[in-house]
């Protein structure tokens, strides 16, 4: 049963006086993997934030989506003075708090076992990135909106994340992400090149 998670009809996105994107039409259903591609400054992040509902003032047109959304932006939303466990248990976007076993399983999937209770500030940038991505390995929302999820990840990390994407899509979820390099997700991956929707 494929339900529509996100629907966009003739969407225009502005950045102050400049029109970034125009006339965008898109429907994202369960099980789809969508990559937003395009050069720097074409408006990938702005579009993703529009999908998330964080950008509304300069977005015009019809945009409707399901309420069950997980957004991950450039900033990892982690507090340095807390441990990964505390960060993930009291995550501001998480309406329900994961149990310890789910937490350990998620952190293990990103081979962060042993760091659950260390101070996040003392972890390396790559490790902090993995803690931020651990949310994807917890029971989470159906529609994922991920901004550059593969940055600061080593090869192993990228592969783990790609598998998770496929798994999530098979479970009836959907992933929309921005990325510079081509993601190895096979033919299921649709790539939306925003260059063709560039404003005047």
């Amino acid at each position: 049963m494929t339900a529509t998670l996100l629907e966009v009809r003739d969407l225009d996105v502005y950045k102050g006086p400049r029109q970034l994107l125009t006339g965008l039409n898109l429907t994202v259903t369960t099980g789809s993997l969508l990559q937003l591609a395009g050069g720097n400054g074409v408006g990938k992040t702005s579009l993703l934030r529009a999908f998330a509902g964080l950008a509304r003032i300069e977005v015009f047109g019809h945009l409707s989506r399901c309420d069950d959304v997980l957004y991950s932006g450039h900033a990892p939303a982690l507090k340095g003075t807390m441990s990964p466990r505390q960060n993930l248990r009291t995550h501001p976007a998480g309406l329900c708090s994961p149990s310890d076993s789910e937490l350990d399983k998620a952190l293990a999937a990103l081979n962060m076992t042993g760091y659950e209770d260390a101070l996040t500030a003392r972890l390396s940038a790559g490790q902090q990135r993995r803690v931020a991505l651990a949310r994807l390995f917890l029971p989470s929302a159906r529609l994922w909106l991920l901004d550059e999820p593969f940055t600061a990840l080593d090869v192993a990390g990228v592969r783990v994340l790609e598998n998770r994407f496929r798994e999530h899509a098979d479970d009836g979820g959907a992933v929309i992400f921005t990325s510079h390099q081509k993601a190895d997700l096979g033919e299921r991956l649709e790539v939306l090149d925003l260059e063709s929707y560039r404003g005047p």
Binding site: I57, A77, T81, A93, S97
Partner: protein, 232 residues
């Protein structure tokens, strides 16, 4: 996908977020101690500036205590959302599947507990320095308890609107000081009535009205302000 959980309710979320912010405040004590230190230091300035004469000081004490509490609140509001905005937590707060106006309340409660609440507990000691008799202490504490909460709620609106602006501190005080005028007037009035043997009930009642009105109305403005700042 995410199975409906027993603790997925709003109340659990708010309790968890309040705990989170209290933990953060405890872990970085500067956030709590600064307003209190500021309050003590600035109170000490007035006798140095105006002279130690107890009669004159106790006559001016209500105004001094309240103006200093007001300034401490402005300082607090400058840092209110700054860290969360910088590290992306504010974004995630807006992405929580509940109204932002409700989601922002735990942080305000935690900030108030760590600042206004403590300030009003400590204020009788500072009041003594200004010649405020201990008999007035309960009124002083009650009025500051409510006043600091109203000022935090109003200040948070200004903070939400200026969090995205570099060096937004000066602008913040310009935005919220006019809104603080009624709180200052009513708060000082409650103290002067108490010191003068009059009846502070009217002023305290008005402060109570301010708290309830503030709790209902300002979260909506704060949420709208945060959404604007998140657009940057």
């Amino acid at each position: 996908m995410a199975p409906e959980r027993a603790d997925a309710s709003l109340a659990h979320y708010c309790i968890r977020q309040t705990g989170r912010h209290l933990l953060l405040l405890v872990r970085s004590p500067g956030e709590i101690v600064n307003p209190l230190l500021f309050f003590l230091l600035v109170i000490i300035l007035f006798p140095l500036g105006l002279g130690p004469d107890p009669e004159m000081l106790s006559a001016l004490a209500p105004g001094i205590v309240w103006v200093v509490a007001l300034l401490a609140n402005v300082m607090l509001c400058m840092r209110l959302f700054a860290d969360d905005f910088a590290d992306g937590s504010l974004e995630q707060l807006a992405m929580a599947n509940i109204p932002l106006a409700v989601a922002v309340l735990p942080q305000l409660l935690a900030s108030w507990l760590a600042s206004g609440f403590l300030l009003s507990l400590v204020s009788p000691l500072f009041g003594l320095m200004l010649g405020l008799p201990l008999s007035v202490a309960p009124i002083l504490m009650a009025s500051l308890l409510m006043g600091t909460l109203i000022m935090l709620l109003l200040g948070a609106v200004g903070a939400a609107l200026t969090v995205g602006i570099q060096r937004g501190g000066m602008l913040l005080s310009l935005l919220i000081l006019p809104l603080y005028v009624p709180v200052l007037i009513v708060g000082t009035r409650s103290l002067t009535e108490a010191v003068g043997g009059g009846d502070p009930a009217v002023a305290l009642a008005l402060l109570g009205a301010g708290v309830t009105g503030g709790l209902v109305l300002s979260p909506v403005a704060i949420a709208a302000g945060l959404r604007v700042s998140l657009e940057l």
